[in-house]
């Protein structure tokens, strides 16, 4: 998971006068892109993710919002209903399309929130050595919590809504980010250019902003992708357990309704398609993260 020092240092071309001595930033990005382009799995994953994001953004153009009821209850896939209908006769294809929006929004929002908390804690732990022990204990403690039961408890107490889901998922996802960022930060902080920045009288905030953060940026990029996919899974899990927002469609919510209606065993289309969508997103994000990490790291390039 760790990125080599070379690459970490290479990503700080903005550090004032030393910039001329370092390779220009384009070259790092270009080298990464060159390596990434050679990985078909990575490209395919990126294409799938872009497709899913397009579907999420243009849901209204693809299918009508699933509401009301239809006369064909639990009809199998057909030309009229590509993915069949659910127990109220609503189109499962439309549900999956509109579910993409909520699933991705929850995934991204929870991931961004988790990344912000995780990066703050991780960088603070790496930079301020005296805070490391305390923050380390907090992170370890959070990592050892039984996450799913706690998520269920909090979501049940706070009541079902999209914002509750985002906060709950973020609250239980940041420790992993913090740990990864801290370990990368520990490699960056002792670097000579950080010491140099300190010697010339840079404030802590300035050093963190200009030197430490760019140094840990690659792991943040990977974390964003992986945390998003985990958040989408958590959202699906919570919604499947009935703790999702009943006023919006998500992939987990479709599964939940299928399970509750008792049609799980007979109407396979109500569960297969949302499950495939989840699988597609999670596999694509995971492969993308792996491909990016490999392309970014000169040792695996």
């Amino acid at each position: 998971m760790t990125i080599s020092r070379t690459s970490a240092a290479g990503s700080t071309p903005t550090a004032g006068t030393t910039a001329a001595a370092l390779p220009p930033s384009e070259s790092v990005a270009q080298q990464t892109w060159q390596a990434f382009r050679r990985n078909p799995l990575g490209l395919a994953s990126a294409a799938v993710l872009i497709l899913l994001i397009l579907v999420a953004a243009g849901a209204g153009l693809i299918a009508d919002y699933p509401s009301g009821y239809g006369e064909d209850v639990l009809a199998g896939p057909s030309a009229a209903h590509w993915f069949g209908t659910d127990d109220l006769g609503r189109d499962v294809f439309a549900q999956v399309v509109w579910g993409t929006r909520v699933s991705i929004v929850v995934g991204l929002a929870a991931s961004v929130l988790a990344i912000v908390i995780g990066v703050l804690v991780g960088v603070a732990a790496a930079y301020f050595r005296y805070a490391d022990a305390l923050l380390g204990v907090i992170v370890d403690l959070s990592l050892s919590l039984p996450v799913l039961p706690l998520m269920i408890l909090v979501a049940a107490l706070a009541g079902p809504s999209v914002s509750t889901l985002v906060v709950v998922i973020a609250l239980f996802s940041w420790p992993e980010v913090a740990r990864v960022v801290r370990s990368q930060g520990l490699a960056v902080v002792p670097m000579p250019y950080v010491s140099a920045a300190r010697v010339i009288g840079g404030s802590h905030l300035w050093i963190i902003r200009k030197h430490v953060l760019p140094g840990v940026a690659p792991v943040i990029a990977v974390s964003v992708v992986l945390t998003t996919s985990r958040a989408v899974l958590s959202e699906a899990g919570l919604s499947f357990l009935g703790l999702g927002d009943p006023n919006s469609w998500s992939w987990g919510a479709i599964l939940h309704q299928a399970q509750r209606s008792g049609s799980l065993a007979t109407a396979w289309w109500t569960t297969l398609f949302p499950s495939l969508a989840i699988l597609l997103l999670v596999v694509a994000t995971t492969l993308l993260a792996v491909a990016y990490n490999d392309a970014r790291n000169p040792r695996t390039r």
Binding site: S67, Y69, S261, T271, T286
Partner: protein
């Protein structure tokens, strides 16, 4: 890379929900299950929480303890009382006392006779310790005396025409010689060495797995004793897995009512038989009158006009429900029903008109009235309500009313209901078979389950008047007038009366259908007389 593997594993795990649905667990009962008259295996989705019949109130609690503890009266399909342990019952002419005559051929499993003393002990314990629902149903009870081993007399503080029916059906009789030695009856767990007097006796329990009951040969209500030697309740995670087990022949009967969608898919299976059972309750929405603007009649009328009742019954319930004509006197209770009742019409235009008349406007032109966003709570685990709640939301939107659904986990839902923390309550009553008693609890100002927070002196007076009569025909006039007020004022919006579907293996027959989910075909008489081909 470990995280990657785990994420992938999670994804595959979640996908398997869709693909594998439910693998049937290995079956320790195999070989002795279906087909053998020696054992009838019943599927349920929950454990017995409480073996004390006076305290337990979950479905599985009731199914199991009903097989062990008799009641004074049973119930016919239309909610009327039938003889059980009691053979005859009547009020004294002044209504201040009532007498029940008992059968003399019931015995406890330890050999003692079931006598009037057991009945006297049971009702006194309930009244003294205020145990369960029964205590709330018998406010007029003062004293009980055993006139002879087969005769009990109850003394009442005032005439109460609901007393006998309530005590007769709702109170399980427990053995005095066991329960009197345990200290506080309400705290008695009764979880071993059961002494019972039903057709079956509980003999062994494996929590989360199975409950085994053995036949009581001298049970008097079935000629020659119960037909099947052993009953087994098996616990399943949900109704989907129960249905698979029934199809595979692992179980003979599903005790839970089937969700309509599942019932439909089982219809064509020749190895199964589906049984229709009428509900004694109703599904409804109640508007919280303590909150603005729901205190305005026009707003409640508008909400009632924004519900597509027909679509709910036809699509969400798959036709297994009947209209109650928006009355709390449902068609199941034929002797109470008011033929002049009519259902609220589904008419979004009229709803809009009513709201405009009440002063609501749509200033921002989004199609929704401004400042009219209502929270509707329901139990998200209830398959039917969770379905029609969505239909109500969507049809209300057409009438310009924004309803936010709050499908809650059961305990949160119960807590919010208790605190009346909602604008609209969506739920259902299981058994409301005695209107004078039920309307007291549900609609009088201080009613225990008055979820609408309705407080209408005229309504209270009618309900009290009906209770003061001792026979049903005289109670009926006042109760019908009360039901009309409830409907006109939209204190309750009754959507439908469900017709439950139960499934059993076609190898079994001779079940006895009783109304409601609690009795259905899992009632003691039915299980005792069922036979295989």
């Amino acid at each position: 890379m470990r995280r990657t593997t785990r994420t992938l594993a999670m994804a595959v795990g979640l996908l398997s929900i869709g693909l594998v649905t439910a693998c049937s667990p290995s079956d320790p009962d195999a070989g002795g299950g279906a087909g053998s008259a020696e054992r009838l295996t019943i599927g349920t989705t929950a454990d017995v929480i409480n073996y004390n019949p006076l305290v337990g109130n979950s479905r599985t609690d009731t199914w199991v303890t009903n097989l062990m503890y008799p009641r004074l009266m049973g119930m016919g399909l239309d909610g009327t009382r039938t003889p059980y342990l009691g053979t005859e019952w009547a009020y004294a002419p002044d209504g201040k006392s009532a007498k029940v005559t008992l059968r003399d051929d019931f015995t406890w499993t330890d050999g003692e006779k079931v006598t009037a003393d057991d009945v006297v002990f049971t009702i006194k314990a309930i009244a003294a310790e205020k145990i369960g629902v029964v205590a709330g149903l018998i406010p007029a009870f003062q004293e009980a005396t055993a006139l002879s081993p087969t005769e009990v007399e109850f003394t009442l503080s005032e005439p109460d025409g609901t007393f006998l029916e309530n005590v007769g059906f709702w109170m399980p009789i427990v053995p005095e010689h066991v329960f009197s030695k345990v200290g506080k009856v309400a705290e008695f767990a009764n979880d071993a060495d059961w002494v019972s007097a039903g057709p079956y006796q509980l003999t062994s329990v494996e929590r989360g797995q199975r409950y085994v009951l053995k036949r009581v040969a001298n049970y008097p209500l079935v000629d020659g004793g119960p037909k099947t030697a052993e009953l087994v309740f098996r616990v399943f995670p949900d109704v989907n897995t129960e249905a698979l087990a029934l199809r595979n022949g692992e179980i003979d009967l599903i005790a839970n009512a089937l969700p309509p969608a599942l019932a439909k898919t089982l219809e064509g299976d020749s190895k199964l038989k589906l049984v229709k059972v009428p509900s004694l309750g109703w599904a409804h929405m109640q508007y919280n009158l303590a909150r603005k603007p729901l205190d305005k009649l026009e707003v409640r009328q508008a909400l009632a006009a924004a519900v597509d009742y027909e679509a709910i019954r036809r699509v969400a319930l798959q036709g297994s429900a009947v209209s109650s004509n928006s009355s709390v006197l449902t068609p199941t209770l034929k002797q109470w029903q008011d033929p002049s009742a009519t259902e609220y019409a589904y008419d979004p235009a009229r709803a809009k008109q009513l709201l405009t008349g009440a002063g609501f406007t749509d200033g921002n032109g989004d199609g929704l009235f401004d400042g009219l966003s209502l929270r509707m709570i329901y139990d998200q685990a209830d398959p039917n309500i969770a379905k029609w709640a969505q239909l109500v939301r969507d049809s209300s939107k057409e009438a310009g009313i924004d309803i936010k659904l709050e499908g809650l986990e059961r305990n949160t839902y119960l807590a919010k209901t208790k605190e009346r923390d909602f604008d609209i309550y969506a739920g259902s009553w299981a058994i409301m078979e005695n209107p004078p008693a039920n309307l007291t609890l549900a609609f009088k100002c201080d009613g225990f389950i008055n979820y609408a927070n309705a407080c209408d002196p005229a309504l209270d007076k009618l309900i009290d008047e009906s209770r003061s009569h001792l026979d049903q025909p005289s109670q009926k006039t006042a109760i019908q007038a009360a039901a009309k007020i409830i409907s006109d004022q939209v204190y309750d919006n009754v959507l439908y009366v469900e017709e439950f579907t139960f499934a059993h293996s076609a190898k079994w027959s001779n079940f006895l259908v009783q109304p409601s989910e609690l009795l259905s075909i899992v009632n003691p008489q039915s299980l005792a007389q069922a036979t295989t081909d």
